[in-house]
């Protein structure tokens, strides 16, 4: 399952990078798209190349989204690209360590990963909203705030549970 999550998020990266076309960043979109396309189907490559590609794809995506955010591409697009890049990078990392993990472990891993990335995205979106990059409507703000509060509570309770086992 993690394998499919990785494939899917890498494809989403390509979609987000292609959205850069709309803002005139054709070079970034093309280079980023090609790198992510190779990354999406890197399973048959040797592990050393895979490892190299994973780190460099993340760095390239980060560099492109930072440049995009700096040069006027909407923050939300950059943030979603950051979120999906983190997801595919960490999924690749997990697959390398534990490619044949049981399904229960994969679920547990995806829950942990999803929580962290969602929380990061929400924090980023909140920051963008505060800066006026995102137009505020009641319903999305309410939903986002509720989701963020729920996630915070989950993480704090999980941390407390792990500190006092038994």
């Amino acid at each position: 399952m993690v394998r499919w999550v990785k494939r899917l998020t890498t494809t989403v990266n390509i979609v987000f990078l292609f959205a850069f076309f709309l803002y005139g960043r054709t070079g970034i979109a093309t280079v980023g798209g090609v790198v992510n396309l190779v990354w999406a189907f890197d399973e048959r490559l040797p592990s050393s190349i895979r490892r190299f590609l994973r780190v460099w794809a993340l760095m390239i995506n980060t560099a492109f989204l930072a440049y995009g955010a700096f040069s006027g591409v909407p923050s939300t697009l950059a943030l979603f690209l950051a979120g999906s890049s983190l997801l595919s990078w960490n999924a690749g990392l997990f697959l390398e360590r534990w490619g044949d993990a049981p399904l229960t472990i994969q679920y547990q891993y995806l829950r942990q990963l999803g929580t962290r990335v969602a929380l990061g995205l929400l924090a980023g979106l909140s920051a963008a909203t505060l800066q006026g990059h995102v137009t505020l409507f009641f319903l999305p703000v309410f939903l986002l705030m509720s989701a963020a509060g729920f996630l915070w509570l989950r993480i704090i309770s999980e941390a407390l549970k792990n500190r006092n086992p038994g």
Partner: protein, 422 residues
């Protein structure tokens, strides 16, 4: 922390600093998901693993090539471990098959058992422990430690069952055995005759001799007793021949083990001296325990290069009872003749089992005229050495190691019987 954590933290800091320096809010907002990811290890610290590892080896002692079944029981006596990697660290020289690694989770109280088969060449192997790596599922933090789990495995040298090797030391021990003692008494071999003494068993009367001399004559029989046998294994580096991963020394060890097993089976008191790196002495003894001691010593035998023990002259003769049997297992050097003559002069019976270094080395050389010429020259030198020894009444069994040891021993025994009779 892991390398992945370093990458993500570096990226988050670059974005953060970039946002602050350029006073760009969008960059700061983008930095937040990265920053949160890099903070994971701080809000959820990784527990140190507490594992109880037990190693079982079945059997502890085995012959070269024989498999040893190893069971490794790992119990988590601490808290839950989400992801743990275990790798058994095998001593150098051992080969393992089966479960030597484990990757998975270990809940508190859970026990995992790993089964594997290990094989090795002759030697003594000390297991040290298991490398344990724990990490969180996201791969952001990692803890590595070495959990000791001791175990000892002795791979004994291969042995050959020998038969019919006769020795005849001047002095024997008091217990009944298989070696002719040169004294009359209870035995089966005819020793001589003497005048009848009341009390002599009538079935021992020699009627033919009595008829000839007109007196009663009794047959005497030679007592058969056990003897002291000292086996000397030549472990000097200077006599070693090694080619294509094959070692002549291994054949010498095999010969020493076979001889020790044979002499102990015959009831003799056997000691072992490994002469090379230093003097490694296994005190003489009888029976199975002594066999185990000798095989354990041979399992650990190594070649050595020591200025003091470069020549056989330093052989500590006092270790061997006077007039006992000494068996030297050595490829021999021409200059060793002097010491072997000296041993004979001291009254020891000396038997040399000499693995043929020339025939062994020839196996790994190109079969051309140069090799043939070199072999001829070396063979002449060796023959001269062996004939010097034979003249000094040292029994020599020359052993082409491609053949089983029992074959040259059988051939040599024909000549030796004649020699012992004299």
């Amino acid at each position: 922390m892991t390398r992945a954590w370093s990458v993500i933290t570096s990226l988050s800091l670059i974005l953060l600093l970039g946002g602050l320096v350029l006073k760009n809010g969008a960059l700061l907002a983008v930095a937040l998901p990265y920053l949160l990811f890099s903070l994971i290890p701080f809000w959820r610290s990784l527990e140190e693993p507490r594992l109880a590892i037990e190693r079982r080896l079945e059997p502890h002692h085995l012959w070269g090539g024989q498999p040893c079944h190893m069971t490794l029981s790992i119990q988590n006596v601490g808290n839950n471990l989400e992801e743990v990697s275990l790798a058994d660290v095998l001593p150098a020289g051992l080969r393992g098959e089966g479960d030597l690694k484990y990757h998975g989770r270990l809940w508190a109280g859970q026990t995992e058992t790993l089964f594997s088969i290990v094989r090795g060449v002759r030697g003594k192997y000390e297991f040290s422990g298991v490398k344990v790596v724990t990490s969180d599922l996201l791969g952001m933090s990692r803890h590595e430690e070495f959990v000791p789990s001791a175990g000892t495995l002795a791979v004994l040298p291969a042995m050959e069952r020998l038969e019919g090797l006769k020795i005849s030391p001047r002095r024997t021990r008091v217990y009944t055995g298989a070696i002719r003692s040169r004294e009359s008494g209870a035995g089966v071999e005819f020793f001589g005759t003497r005048g009848y003494v009341p009390g002599d068993p009538l079935r021992h009367l020699n009627w033919k001799a009595g008829a000839r001399w007109d007196i009663l004559i009794t047959n005497l029989f030679e007592q058969e007793r056990v003897a002291d046998v000292g086996i000397i294994l030549d472990a000097r580096s200077i006599v070693e021949v090694r080619a294509d991963g094959e070692s002549l020394f291994e054949h010498s060890i095999q010969a020493a083990a076979s001889l020790a097993e044979y002499f102990l089976r015959e009831g003799n008191r056997v000691g072992l001296l490994i002469y090379g790196r230093m003097i490694e002495w296994t005190f003489p003894g009888y029976g199975r325990q002594q066999r185990s001691r000798i095989l354990a010593a041979l399992a650990q035998a190594e070649l050595g290069e020591h200025a003091v023990f470069k020549e056989l002259e330093r052989l500590p003769t006092r270790l061997f009872p006077s007039e006992s049997q000494i068996v030297l297992v050595s490829p021999l050097l021409p200059r060793d003749v002097h010491m072997l003559r000296y041993l004979r002069a001291l009254g020891y019976r000396v038997l040399v089992i000499s693995p043929d270094a020339i025939a062994f080395e020839k196996l790994f050389l190109p079969q051309d005229e140069y090799t043939a010429l070199a072999e001829r020259i070396a063979r002449m030198e060796r023959n001269a050495t062996l004939s010097k020894l034979r003249r000094a009444q040292v029994n020599v069994v020359e052993w082409d190691v491609t053949l089983p040891l029992r074959i040259p021993i059988k051939q040599a025994m024909v000549g030796l019987k004649r020699w012992y009779a004299g």
